[in-house]
């Protein structure tokens, strides 16, 4: 069986072995020291082997071995990365062994093998990112469907939640964080696949680091999913202490999983920054880059500089739990009155965590949406047959959103108990984000105006994205303004607003990108009718879902609750939101089926089905192993649709004409 030789399977097997070694190592040290194997002897371990082991694990029984579990999880990640082979070349270098770059599948390997193993081609890695993102998206979406069923009617219906409401909290938390993981991977898919292609490079600056950055997501995501089944965690994706310091043991696997997803962000963005700055084709000045590259570059700047903060804040809570470092615990209360499970060394402050956490997690929102907004800007000119209106304004608006995004974090904390005077400056900085965002909207309208608009599936999703992001954007100021936030904070209004920004800023554009570059990546054309059906189901369903959530919130529905007061008159709204959620899920399933079936059966795609001027569309579909056998030379502006005789890129070396003057006067 070849399957068992893939990097994925080897990584998991070796990872599990390492997990066991890590666990045993800690336990062995403890036993050698003459201590009982359990940290927490008051926990009811029952007989040596609990009668119903599985139930015991799922209900969080492993909490008695928490430090060993944590060390084991870190060992698992290391083992996975070694087993999958992500570090083989680096290890060979330490011994002075040469490692020539492998292009294409190894001798005798089928092509699918590359996708399940470590491969250094950015095109393979881009697809790996994309497929993993869609799998996580469907998983996290399914979790949401479960608790949406519960919320369709007031009171508790599902036995799962009736028995233990922690399951509800766990599902809400897991939906949030796994979706965020999915979005980060989706962003990685777009950046990794598109940036080198769009700037005329054959690969990323650091291909091995690129593969490492992708693969570390896999054990990270596996830990996140495992967290659900070892007791879950009831803190929401935000993981605020002191709650997270007292939560079931699942929270530790959530912390560690997120930590490694964050490491992937940092390494991946480093690659994007270096690639963009140093590997552009000849003649491609910064202002001649495709607009998506600007978005990916701005995103990478945030990822590279902010992600450390979430890793740090989660690491601190993890250490508070296993080492008793009371970073986020106030006072020095009577320790004897507490359960041994609650390690309670005081002297800290719970609000400190929120500052550290949001210093990343607000800019993170711009990590999620900037690439998507870049996709919208990228697609509108192609399908309107017109130049991008105000290219430089859009490019710089991405950069300014990225920068202002660093100054707004405390708007998540207007009612947290931080210094009340700080609320006004943070309100102002938050509202300022509306200005560069507005520039994007108006410039998009300018791009559409006077075009020859063709409504193919990718364009439909780009336009749907504008409508949804408009809802998300306009519902932001009532939250950013402190006065109205006093009412709206932490209600379902926030849930509606946030989903609108995520769908408008990421999900719709991501789907647009999947459809748009599908022929380029796969070499076949997806089914257009199914694409339109996907759009026609998802867009109205999403409007209903998002607006329904907001209305429920203003009436009194809080975030992260399993029940609500029938007196608020939101029963109908809640039911509509649940139905809409199922329609969205159905539409996504249609897309996945469309893409899987089309990859085998659909007609072959032309090299440039969208008549785009982009570099990647000037090479055959699918893109050859070596994307640009002849180096491309940029001789004009990227979006000069409708200008007779203008050229963006040429492959034959120019003979006499100076490179930069070609654009306006007509190159070839």
């Amino acid at each position: 069986m070849r399957f068992f030789k893939t990097g994925l399977v080897k990584g998991i097997l070796v990872g599990l072995l390492w997990w066991l070694i890590g666990f045993m190592l800690v336990e062995a040290i403890r036993v050698v020291m003459g201590l009982p194997p359990q940290w927490n002897t008051s926990l009811p371990a029952g007989p040596a082997v609990p009668q119903d082991t599985l139930k015991w694990i799922v209900s969080g029984g492993l909490a008695a071995y928490e430090p060993a579990m944590v060390v084991a999880a870190i060992f698992f990640v290391i083992g996975f990365m070694l087993g999958a082979g992500t570090m083989s070349d680096w290890l060979k270098w330490t011994r002075g062994v040469d490692t020539p770059m492998q292009h294409g599948p190894k001798e005798g390997q089928p092509s699918w093998f590359r996708y399940l193993s470590v491969d250094y081609s950015h095109k393979i890695i881009g697809v790996q990112y994309g497929v993993t993102a869609v799998i996580l998206l469907m998983f996290a979406g399914t979790l949401a469907l479960i608790f949406r069923v519960e919320l369709a009617k007031p009171e508790l219906q599902l036995t799962l939640f009736n028995d233990n409401l922690n399951w509800f909290n766990t599902l809400v938390s897991a939906h949030g964080m796994i979706m965020i993981g999915s979005i980060l991977l989706g962003v990685g898919a777009m950046s990794n696949y598109l940036v080198p292609l769009m700037i005329g490079a054959n690969d990323m600056a650091f291909p091995r680091l690129n593969a490492f950055a992708y693969w570390i997501n896999v054990p990270g995501a596996l830990l996140l999913v495992t967290a659900i089944f070892i007791g879950g965690w009831n803190t929401g994706w935000t993981g605020y202490p002191p709650l997270s310091a007292q939560a079931p043991i699942g929270v530790q696997y959530f912390f560690i999983g997120v930590f490694f997803l964050g490491l992937s962000s940092i390494l991946g963005s480093l690659n994007i920054v270096v690639t963009t700055l140093t590997m552009r084709a000849r003649g491609m000045t910064m202002f001649r880059m495709p607009i998506f590259v600007w978005a990916a570059f701005s995103t990478a700047l945030i990822q590279l500089t902010a992600t450390q903060l979430i890793g740090l804040s989660f690491l601190m809570v993890a250490m508070q739990r296993i080492l008793g470092l009371g970073f986020f615990n106030p006072g020095f209360p009577d320790i004897t009155a507490l359960a041994p499970a609650q390690l309670w060394e005081g002297g800290g402050n719970p609000i400190l965590f929120q500052h550290l956490f949001w210093f990343y997690s607000h800019p993170a929102v711009y990590i999620f949406i900037l690439p998507g907004l870049g996709i919208i800007s990228e697609l509108l000119p192609v399908f309107s047959r017109k130049p991008l209106f105000g290219y430089k304004w859009i490019a710089l608006s991405s950069l300014s959103i990225a920068l202002v995004g660093f100054l707004v974090w405390a708007h998540h904390m207007f009612v947290s108990g931080m210094n009340t005077y700080l609320r006004v400056p943070f309100m102002l900085s938050t509202l300022l984000v509306a200005v560069p965002t507005g520039v994007k909207f108006f410039s998009w309208l300018g791009t559409l105006w006077g075009g020859r608009i063709e409504l193919k599936t990718p364009m439909l999703f780009a336009l749907g994205a504008i409508s949804v992001f408009l809802i998300g954007g306009l519902t932001g100021p009532p939250l950013g303004t402190v006065t109205t936030d006093l009412q709206l904070h932490d209600t379902y209004y926030v849930v509606g607003h946030f989903h609108a920004t995520m769908f408008g800023g990421f999900v719709f554009p991501f789907f647009a990108a999947l459809y748009y570059w599908y022929p380029k990546a796969i070499g076949r054309q997806y089914n257009e009718r199914l694409g339109v059906l996907h759009f026609a189901l998802m867009t109205p369903a999403f409007w209903v879902m998002s607006l329904g959530q907001m209305l429920a919130g203003t009436r009194g529905m809080r975030r992260r609750v399993a029940d609500y007061d029938p007196a608020w008159g939101i029963d109908g709204v809640q039911l509509a939101v649940t139905i809409a959620a199922f329609i969205i899920a159905l539409s996504v399933a249609i897309m996945v089926i469309n893409m899987i079936v089309s990859a085998r059966r659909a007609p072959k795609a032309a090299a440039n089905p969208w008549r785009s001027r982009g570099l990647e569309w000037q090479v055959p579909s699918p893109v050859p192993e070596l994307s640009y056998a002849t180096a491309p030379i940029v001789v004009g502006e990227p979006y000069d649709y409708g200008l007779a005789g203008s050229t963006y890129v040429q492959f034959a070396p120019p003979t006499l004409a100076p490179v930069h003057s070609a654009g306006v006067t007509g190159g070839d």
Partner: protein
């Protein structure tokens, strides 16, 4: 290629935008967004939200109409291969739609700051109520009236109230939110917070915890009754400790409801809950996790409430919050014991 003239298009779009904006704004203002306000602070919140809804309605209409109109007027006709008009931008327009939104958000920030000042302003004749949050309920104390602990928050109408708020030191972050009052504030262990409300409508309300706080978060709430000044005085006078077992049990039942005990302890006799059932508990032998047994008498139950990890019942996790010893008065614990005693 001939450049088209857009004058006609602009006139049509302007008219549609205007009509759509009016419809959207009127439509949004007709929606019953929130429950009827019941505090003086609600006015600043509601009036600013009204202004924001007008801006939202107008901008929504502007962008959507321009977009949808373009899709119709500038669509690609069948068989058409031509490109659109070539224009790359317009610096004056870009500056216009940078500066106008900038002014708009500055105005909004000023309005927001003013509204905030109004909604949080201190008043001269405030009555203090101490709010303590714990997993999972609220406790209210009236230092000026000498009331140590009440599971229900009684408030005299039209009286400025200052809420002195705390979460128990060993507990988690909670939040105080009454939708009808329009203001909220977190209660943080170790960090005292304040909130000001002036209830101006007699009626019954519910304070909800609006910060995820664990298993019992969904059900973490407490009743609020806004009453006339004379009714309030009568209530204060009636807050004397009780000794009658039946009355104690019924006070205990009220307490159990307000403290969220039912999240883990059922009263149906079902042994499968998160915590031991209360039905038939009193007076019976209980097996503990260390293998010993104990009789569930007054002292055992009182200890298990105040210091839950002292004795763990076999088969259950020691996850009950340790805060009740600090949250409940001894009097209240005796009510709870009386209530459990009554569940035979």
């Amino acid at each position: 290629m001939q450049k088209r003239s857009y004058g006609k298009h602009f006139v049509i779009v302007a008219v549609i935008v205007l009509v759509t904006a009016i419809i959207t704004v009127v439509g949004l203002s007709r929606v019953r967004w929130m429950a009827a306000p019941a505090s003086a602070q609600a006015r600043s919140v509601d009036s600013l939200l009204g202004i924001e809804l007008v801006a939202i309605g107008f901008l929504f209409a502007l962008v959507m109409v321009f977009m949808l109109y373009s899709l119709v007027a500038f669509r690609q006709r069948k068989g058409e291969e031509e490109d659109g008009d070539h224009f790359e931008g317009n610096t004056k327009l870009e500056i216009t739609w940078t500066v106008i939104p900038l002014i708009t958000v500055l105005v909004l920030a000023v309005l927001g700051a003013r509204g905030l000042t109004e909604a949080t302003a201190a008043r001269a004749d405030e009555m203090t109520v101490e709010v303590t949050a714990f997993s999972w309920g609220f406790k209210f104390a009236y230092p000026e009236q000498g009331i140590e602990a009440s599971p229900i928050m009684y408030l005299p109408v039209d009286q400025h109230i200052l809420l002195d708020m705390n979460s128990v030191d060993t507990d988690v972050i909670h939040d105080f939110w009454v939708p009808e009052f329009r203001v909220k504030q977190d209660l943080v262990p170790g960090v005292p917070t304040k909130l000001r409300i002036t209830p101006n409508k007699i009626g019954k309300y519910t304070v909800l915890c609006d910060e995820l706080c664990g298993t019992g978060h969904t059900n973490m709430q407490a009743p609020i009754e806004v009453v006339s000044a004379s009714d309030f005085d009568a209530w204060v006078a009636a807050q004397q400790p009780s000794t009658d077992p039946a009355e104690m049990a019924s006070l205990g039942a009220e307490l159990a409801a307000s403290q969220g005990c039912a999240a883990c302890h059922n009263i149906t006799g079902d042994p499968g809950g998160i915590g031991p059932t209360w039905k038939g508990l009193f007076g019976h032998e209980v097996e503990l996790s260390d293998g010993s047994t104990v009789t569930a008498d007054d002292a055992y139950i009182a200890e298990s409430i105040a210091n839950p990890t002292a004795k763990i019942v076999a088969g259950y996790q020691p996850i009950m919050p340790a805060s009740y010893g600090q949250v409940l008065t001894e009097q209240q614990i005796s009510y709870l014991v009386a209530y459990i005693k009554s569940l035979q």
